[in-house]
């Protein structure tokens, strides 16, 4: 599992409230990613980070912000949660290998319900 944990694992919140999800890794990987998984859409990239304080937007970044103040933690924040953000959120890291190969490992996911 490449030492990836996510917290919380489940959360129910109300529309308009702020929510922060945490991804923690123990193996000093440079790249970290946040995805959401929804039926019919597969996995969609929200934001990613390529180093401390270095982040970039993905396909579905509207309504989300991220921060990475230290290598091991990548935080995803919903400033004002909406029902359309009800989803399962996955964090991932990329391990770069010799010869340009890479593997991407995922955390266990956080199920977020916005009422």
């Amino acid at each position: 599992d490449a030492g990836i944990t996510q917290s919380p694992r489940h959360k129910v919140t109300e529309t308009g409230t702020p929510v922060t999800l945490r991804c923690h890794q123990t193996e000093n990987h440079r790249y970290m990613y946040w995805y959401r998984q929804d039926p019919g859409h597969g996995l969609r990239l929200i934001h990613y980070s390529y180093g401390v304080k270095d982040t970039d937007k993905g396909e579905v970044s509207d309504g989300y912000s991220v921060s990475r103040s230290k290598t091991e933690d990548f935080l995803l924040t919903l400033e004002s949660a909406t029902s359309s953000q009800t989803s399962v959120y996955f964090c991932a890291i990329t391990q770069l290998l010799a010869g340009g190969r890479n593997e991407q490992f995922f955390g266990p996911g956080t199920r977020l319900t916005v009422l």
């Binding site: 996995l43 970039d56 996955f90 340009g100 890479n102 593997e103 955390g107 996911g109």
Partner: protein, 115 residues
């Protein structure tokens, strides 16, 4: 605009036979392709990958084929086993605007291997 497409939402195969999962892409800048397996309530698990400079990669029962001219890749599982029943995602890697890696996923194919 779905850059990575898995047009078959589901597939059923008899145990012992070959499973073929397909994936099409539109962006010729993708340089690396990956396949993942996902069980319910778990994060995706990396299976196998292939560089755009190759046309085949094999790992045990799993083989990935890449046809660059057709912008098509496929995952072959031989022989299929009941434990292979899961959702399979293909993903493609591309450099983002910041010169760093990001991944685009397909919508997934649910494979069911019948005993």
């Amino acid at each position: 605009d779905q850059q990575v497409k898995q047009n078959s939402p589901s597939l059923s195969v008899q145990e012992g036979r070959i499973s073929i999962l397909n994936c099409d892409y539109t962006n010729s800048m993708f340089d690396y392709f990956l396949w993942y397996k996902k069980y319910p309530a778990e994060g995706p698990t990396f299976l196998i990958s292939i560089s755009s400079i190759k046309d085949k990669n094999e790992d045990g029962r799993f083989t990935v084929f890449l046809n660059k001219s057709a912008k098509h890749l496929s995952l072959h599982i031989v022989p299929s086993q009941p434990g292979d029943s899961a959702v399979y995602f293909c993903a493609a890697r591309i450099f983002g605007a910041s010169g760093t890696y990001k991944y685009i996923f397909g919508t997934g194919t649910r494979l069911k291997v019948l005993a």
